[in-house]
């Protein structure tokens, strides 16, 4: 069982909590005005169309209201959020050129080390800008592009223009519009037809500045019959003021292509994480999501898969762990738009110490999607009486001959189970984490090894209650 397989010494949460002195080169004023957006755009040297796009998005933002469902967002005051924080660092392909304090941060997070051992490329963003990017030479030779969004916008303008916020349009919801207006940083990946990127690429997003927002944009295009595993990580130190993350991820998985998108989200407990992720999948293509949500004060995250081509597939595996002071509203949605499309959603949510975890699934089968197949399995575990877990599935089936299965369980750790393990000489804490590890095991085994280890550590830390 988990105990012997991956029993690891506990890491310290303080790893994530180390703050650097704010040495940013430039910070926009807090709040959201046309002037601020013009200023960001000018500093980023946007093409004209991008400035227009930003301004349009701002208009949309001002028209839209906050969602009338989900967690309470009233404590978010946009007037107090600094939307653009430029680190005092130039984007580089050499860690030696990254300023010491920033490099040390990524060292602590194990990024350069992972780059040496298990990754084919790395992107590292600090506050609003990417400070480091690398990709293995042989991938470049095969035509793979992996770079920061700003570089992509200038060097591959046509591709970006054709895809940028086409899948997640600004009018989608208020925070998509916000993203369109103030986006900065993020990664761009292009995998040409038939190319298989065997080793994962990873982008890590670190927000250091207090009271700031991070709005990175990730755009991935996997051409026909190509494949990629992309890993996204994020963290921030904890502050007493609200920070905001409203990233946007757009994934284009073409016919016969395969993309695995793994995330371990570990924002600090002052973060409002209002993130949008969406994938469109062509004929015989496969999108696999692996999603771990551990951090944030409030989260709203529901990766969506649009199965557009015949026989397209979605596999979604997620785990959400809400502890004290956290309201994590996560889920997944699938839209079946073609015959014989299939989806498999499997999630685990855990809540403890008064945390609230809600899991929403939305499955839509359009009338163009006969023989769609979808199975949803969500399980929740509450570790005590003061915590809450909910599962809220919705289904909208128009297609004929659909095969839809849904299974949801909500349970508690019973005292009996804890007593049992203790009667075998195991401490109460270890007993709890053993049960939780067993519960998340199906998810953990989907993660790349280091991430499984990290998740394991996070679970242990959560259970020890050492986190605020």
């Amino acid at each position: 069982m988990a105990q012997e397989k991956t029993y690891i010494e506990d890491i310290e949460r303080t790893l994530y909590d180390i703050k650097n002195v704010d040495k940013s080169k430039y910070k926009s004023q807090s709040g959201l005005t046309e002037d601020i957006i013009r200023d960001i755009s000018a500093r980023k040297n946007d093409p004209e169309w991008m400035l227009e796009f930003r301004l349009k998005s701002l208009e949309v933002y001002n028209q839209l209201s906050l969602p009338n469902w989900g967690p309470d967002l009233s404590e978010l005051n946009m007037d107090e959020i600094v939307t653009y924080v430029q680190p005092d660092a130039k984007m580089t392909g050499s860690w030696d050129e990254v300023p010491d304090d920033i490099k040390e941060t990524f060292d602590r997070l194990g990024i350069p080390e992972a780059e040496q051992t298990s990754l084919a490329g790395v992107g590292a963003q600090y506050d609003s800008e990417v400070v480091y990017h690398s990709i293995q030479e042989d991938l470049v030779k095969q035509g793979v592009i992996y770079t920061d969004m700003e570089t992509a916008l200038h060097e591959h303008e046509e591709i970006v223009r054709d895809h940028f916020m086409k899948l997640v349009p600004p009018k989608d919801h208020k925070f998509a519009a916000l993203h369109g207006a103030v986006w900065s940083g993020g990664s761009f990946v292009y995998v040409p037809e038939g190319v298989h990127v065997e080793i994962p690429l990873q982008s890590y997003f670190r927000l250091n500045a207090a009271g700031a927002g991070q709005f990175e944009h990730t755009l991935i295009i996997v051409e026909k019959n190509a494949s990629l595993h992309f890993i996204e990580g994020c963290s921030a130190p904890k502050y007493n003021v609200t920070n905001l993350h409203a990233g946007c991820v757009e994934l284009f998985v073409n016919d016969g292509a395969r993309l695995r998108y793994s995330t371990i989200e570990n924002w600090s407990r002052n973060m409002m994480n209002l993130n949008t992720k969406r994938a469109v999948v062509g004929k015989d293509g496969i999108i696999e999501w692996v999603s771990g949500s551990f951090g944030s004060h409030v989260s709203m995250l529901y990766p969506c898969s649009v199965l557009k081509g015949e026989n397209a597939k979605c596999e979604f595996t997620g785990v959400t762990f809400a502890s004290k002071g956290q309201n994590l509203d996560t889920g997944a949605s699938v839209i079946h738009c073609a015959p014989h499309t299939s989806a498999n959603i499997s999630t685990r949510t855990i809540s403890k110490a008064g945390g609230k975890a809600t899991y929403r699934s939305a499955v839509k089968v359009t009338k163009n999607a006969p023989y769609a197949k979808c199975s949803v399995n969500c399980e929740s575990l509450m570790l005590d009486d003061i915590s809450r877990s909910d599962t809220l599935p919705t289904m909208d089936i128009e297609g004929d001959e659909a095969d839809i299965g849904h299974e949801a369980t909500i349970g508690r750790i019973s005292d009996e189970a804890i007593f049992y393990l203790m009667s075998r000489g195991i401490s109460e804490e270890e007993a709890r984490s053993m049960i939780v590890r067993g519960f998340v095991e199906p998810i953990a085994k989907e993660l790349p090894l280091e991430y499984a280890v990290e998740m394991n550590n996070l679970v242990n830390i959560e259970l020890e209650g050492t986190m605020g």
């Binding site: 009667s423 049960i435 199906p442």
Partner: protein, 242 residues
């Protein structure tokens, strides 16, 4: 040696205090095969849980091998050598029969060793070792697996609460043999709660618990005839009435 001194366990129910274990004194010597019996609701299971620490005493003292364990956690008691067979083994996601046995021994025992424990309780080991512990196993199977885990622990002091419950007649004979073997081979103290004559029959010592107190305690040869005598008397009385 286990010494229970002036043990009391009370619960509050509807603003009333119920005394379940009532100033109970009891000493159990080392290496004995002891069977506790007595009427339903007499407090036997409660007593067993108090010994393991699964329930917390209201007052009194417990001494195990000369050491006061009154305030010890379940974990500490387990580490000091007390084991308890639950009505059912724990089950949670991902846990397999082999894991239960490994948990019990605290070692990464080999599949073969694990199988030996299962054979001892009459389970064809190979079929079970890799199975997940869940409702696909029958009540009797779960029960036997649980007994096997306590055997695997091999501690100084093992408690079984009605091990025969839920076991079919055919397997019952088998179970008696299991306990006879335990009696012969296990060095430590074995405490069984049972209503079964055939289990009472292999005891060194019998303790009768009634109304939360020790009613009698003594060697089997003294106590058993008394108990059976009562049962006979009741039977006779009943047959007269019908």
């Amino acid at each position: 040696m286990l010494e229970l001194k002036d043990l009391t366990y009370q619960v509050e129910e509807n603003n009333e205090t119920l005394t379940i274990i009532d100033h109970l004194d009891l000493t159990i010597d080392d290496g004995k095969f002891v069977v506790i019996t007595g009427p339903n609701g007499g407090g036997k299971s409660t007593l067993a849980k108090l010994i393991m620490g699964v329930k917390e005493l209201t007052s009194g003292q417990m001494i195990f091998d000369g050491e006061d364990i009154t305030d010890c956690s379940i974990t500490d008691r387990a580490r000091k050598g007390i084991s308890f067979a639950f009505q059912q083994p724990v089950h949670f996601k991902g846990i397999k029969v082999l894991d239960l046995l490994r948990l019990a021994t605290g070692k990464k025992i080999s599949v073969n060793t694990a199988c030996e424990y299962l054979s001892k309780v009459g389970l064809c080991a190979k079929e079970y070792i890799d199975r997940e512990v869940n409702s696909s196993l029958s009540g009797g199977e779960l029960k036997r697996i649980e007994i096997a885990t306590v055997l695997a622990r091999g501690t100084k002091f093992s408690i079984f609460d009605e091990p025969e419950a839920g076991i079919d007649i055919w397997s019952f004979q088998n179970l008696i043999q299991v306990f006879e073997n335990i009696r012969k081979t296990v060095q430590g103290t074995v405490l069984i709660i049972s209503h079964q004559e055939r289990i009472l029959n292999i005891a060194d010592e019998i303790i009768v618990i009634e109304d939360g107190k020790v009613k009698t305690q003594g060697p089997k040869d003294e106590i058993l005839p008394e108990l059976l005598g009562t049962a006979d008397a009741v039977n006779r009385a009943c047959s007269k009435m019908s």
